[in-house]
């Protein structure tokens, strides 16, 4: 079907896209064929757009009866070899955690777009709030490590969604894409690369030809490295007889050593942290004051750094593109000589500020700038920079 494969990619060039739509177009480019969702503000445009787009390329977009069903249909589709994702907001994520924990156990790859809104409870449905960060990190019962990616504009929503799918295929863990109510509804110009370029980046879902018996991740006893096989596909030979979500060995059979299994769940991601972590180091070489930010506040932080530099204050910005797993070593290295660390976040608690505190062992003063349901103005950050620089 040549026509359907042509429709998979947007024409090369500049497009004015809404954040949520840039995100799902990125997903389609990455090979998305199944979407199970339930409408929830502010992520609704994702399911609306996919309901139109996915049938065009021979995929399926289903509006399920609730969030529990949507995430379960997503893992069902992923089990039979479809690249799948869901998009929701905070209340939906709360409902889906049970299944995320199961998918983490069975190493079922899928991408989870969380268009965050102000909580708790129903909250303010059209305002941003980076409050689901902690829930993502500990989403569901049991211990497992997730990957969370925080884009800051519509272009990145397109590009990083492709990366998120690749991470899901490679590391076989829940991969979160952290959007928020403002970012999801932002209209911006997105440069769509030619389809050959996109195809080069995308990791395909294929079952290996020799179909090895070890279908789940394990620690290689000789090298001590964690081997993550390709995800098994039901309906092919490369599939264990039984997918059972209890501590299991690489063949899928229950293991008498749950501790080893738990270690594998965490360490398969942590041992690859250098490959997973994406950061942007902006004017950090001689910085005395370090700003650490992710998501939307990065945009104002860049501006604040520029203004402060013009005034001769040595400020740098560490932008976390992947927030989980938290890059302990990297942050430790960056804030080593810093006089102070400023963490502007779209929440009150300062979830990442707490992580920085943990890493610096409270030796460096950490200043949180919390905002809920509104943007940081560069002046907000600049004021703090000037106070610290005095």
């Amino acid at each position: 079907m040549s026509s359907s494969s042509d429709k998979r990619f947007l024409p090369e060039g500049r497009h004015l896209l809404m954040g949520n739509i840039a995100m799902v177009e990125g997903a389609i480019s990455a090979g998305l064929t199944f979407f199970g969702g339930y409408p929830i503000t502010p992520s609704t445009e994702a399911i609306e757009h996919l309901a139109k787009r996915l049938p065009e390329i021979g995929g399926c977009c289903m509006q399920m009866e609730d969030e529990l069903a949507s995430i379960n249909s997503v893992i069902g589709a992923s089990l039979v070899g479809a690249k799948s994702m869901t998009a929701t907001s905070g209340p939906g994520l709360s409902l889906m955690t049970e299944t995320i924990s199961m998918a983490a156990n069975l190493e079922i790859p899928f991408v989870f777009c969380d268009v965050q809104r102000t909580g708790p409870g129903t909250g303010l449905v059209t305002e941003p709030h980076h409050n689901d960060l902690g829930l993502m990190r500990f989403s569901g019962n049991g211990e497992f490590q997730v990957i969370a990616i925080a884009p800051m504009n519509c272009q990145e929503l397109f590009d990083l969604t492709i990366t998120a799918f690749n991470y899901a295929e490679t590391y076989r863990c829940p991969v979160f894409l952290m959007s928020d109510a403002y970012l999801g509804h932002l209209h911006e110009v997105v440069n769509i690369p030619p389809k050959e370029e996109i195809l080069k980046r995308v990791i395909k879902r294929e079952s290996p030809e020799d179909a090895p018996a070890r279908v789940f991740s394990y620690k290689d006893r000789e090298t001590g490295e964690y081997v993550i096989p390709k995800p098994p596909i039901m309906g092919t030979d490369y599939c264990p007889g039984l997918f059972i979500h209890l501590p299991h060995g690489p063949e899928g059979l229950p293991t008498p050593k749950p501790m080893e299994f738990m270690e594998m769940m965490i360490e398969k991601i942590k041992s690859n942290i250098d490959k997973i972590t994406m950061v942007d180091k902006y004017k950090l070489e001689d910085a005395e004051i370090v700003i650490i930010a992710y998501g939307l506040p990065v945009r104002t932080s860049y501006r604040a750094v520029e203004i402060a530099r013009q005034e001769g204050i040595k400020v740098g910005l560490l932008r976390l593109i992947t927030v989980w797993p938290f890059p302990d070593e990297l942050v430790k290295e960056v804030v080593k000589d810093a006089k102070a660390v400023i963490v502007p976040e779209l929440n009150y608690t300062g979830i990442i500020a707490e992580q920085v505190q943990r890493v610096t062992k409270l030796t460096t003063p950490i200043i949180k700038i919390g905002k809920v349901a509104e943007f940081h103005h560069p002046d907000d950050i600049l004021k703090v920079i000037k106070e610290v620089a005095k």
Binding site: F34, E56, S73, G76, A77, M234, G241
Partner: protein, 304 residues
């Protein structure tokens, strides 16, 4: 006849479907983890038998198993079947995802009364409403057996369980009526005391394209039978019942407490209270979800 006595006169011939079962292949025996008198062994063996006899393609019939006592059925069912243990109540949703991602498949869902009519009731209603091609088997033992015999949505009025020590007073859910109301095109109910009928329905459901719901009444001796007397049910109130502490007694009770659908037509609601009506309730094939979605895809791709 050579006149020589067989060397091991008590040795039984191997069960014809032993090698086909998952446990038989791995452990050399059925490796059943069920209590004495449980009906799940019968169901597991019937599944293996039909899977083998009908030459079902394991690649096209993924088996989605819910959470309950019957989850252990994975050791009894056919070794070639690709099995997934879903979360409690979510098996129909997982099956929907599978079917829509690969429309050639026909998932087989094992589910229980607590699983499908309790926690997963919503998913069950909506898979029936959509008419997604799959076979749902609801094992109804009228109790939450895995957690130790708590009252279920299907527990009969007047029965005792660990959470209803002074007898059950809630109204019960009827899985068949729910499936009929939700629009499932093939709905049937039978019991493990009627294995031939069960096999007939199973075969019919496999050939039918659309959601098929078969509710199977099965005994739970350990948590239901031991706590209840065989005079359970309005009709037998005057009788002096006995404890149903063996499989045989429970099978007897199930047989006595089930009414054929033809017979039930002539009975009043009072007479049918606490009874199981068995038989085929509906067989009306109608457009299937993945077929309808294929039409949508065709329109979206620019066809007619």
């Amino acid at each position: 006849m050579s006149g020589i006595a067989p060397m091991f006169p008590n040795e039984k011939p191997e069960h014809p479907y032993l090698q086909q079962s998952y446990g038989g292949k791995v452990f050399g025996n059925f490796a059943s983890l069920f209590c004495g008198g449980c009906g799940y062994g019968i169901i597991g063996q019937i599944f293996t038998r039909i899977f083998e006899d009908e030459k079902l393609d394991p690649k096209l019939h993924p088996t989605v198993i819910g959470i309950g006592c019957y989850s252990q059925i994975m050791l009894l069912v056919h070794e070639a079947a690709q099995k997934v243990l879903a979360l409690h109540g979510r098996a129909p949703a997982v099956a929907t995802g599978m079917k829509m991602a690969n429309p050639k498949m026909k998932p087989i869902v094992f589910s229980g009364d607590g699983d499908c009519l309790g926690i997963g009731g919503n998913h069950f209603i909506h898979i029936c409403r959509r008419n997604v091609d799959c076979l749902i088997m609801i094992f109804n033992n009228s109790i939450y057996a895995m957690t130790g015999g708590q009252g279920a949505p299907t527990t009969l009025y007047g029965a005792k369980s660990t959470t209803t020590p002074y007898t059950m007073f809630e109204n019960r859910t009827d899985g068949v009526k729910l499936a009929l109301a939700a629009g499932a095109p093939y709905v049937a109910r039978t019991t493990v005391a009627h294995p031939r009928t069960l096999m007939k329905y199973f075969r019919k459901a496999l050939r039918h394209k659309g959601t098929s719901v078969i509710e199977i009444i099965t005994p739970c001796v350990t948590y239901f039978g031991r706590k209840n007397l065989s005079n359970l049910g309005e009709e037998y109130k005057g009788e002096k019942g006995e404890k149903m502490d063996t499989g045989g007694k429970m099978i007897d009770w199930i047989k006595r407490n089930s009414v054929r659908i033809n017979q039930a037509k002539f009975m009043t609601d009072e007479e049918l209270f606490n009874k199981y009506i068995i038989g085929e309730f509906r067989y009306e094939p109608k457009p299937e979800y993945s077929d309808e979605y294929a039409k949508i895809q065709k329109i979206a791709m620019g066809g007619k």
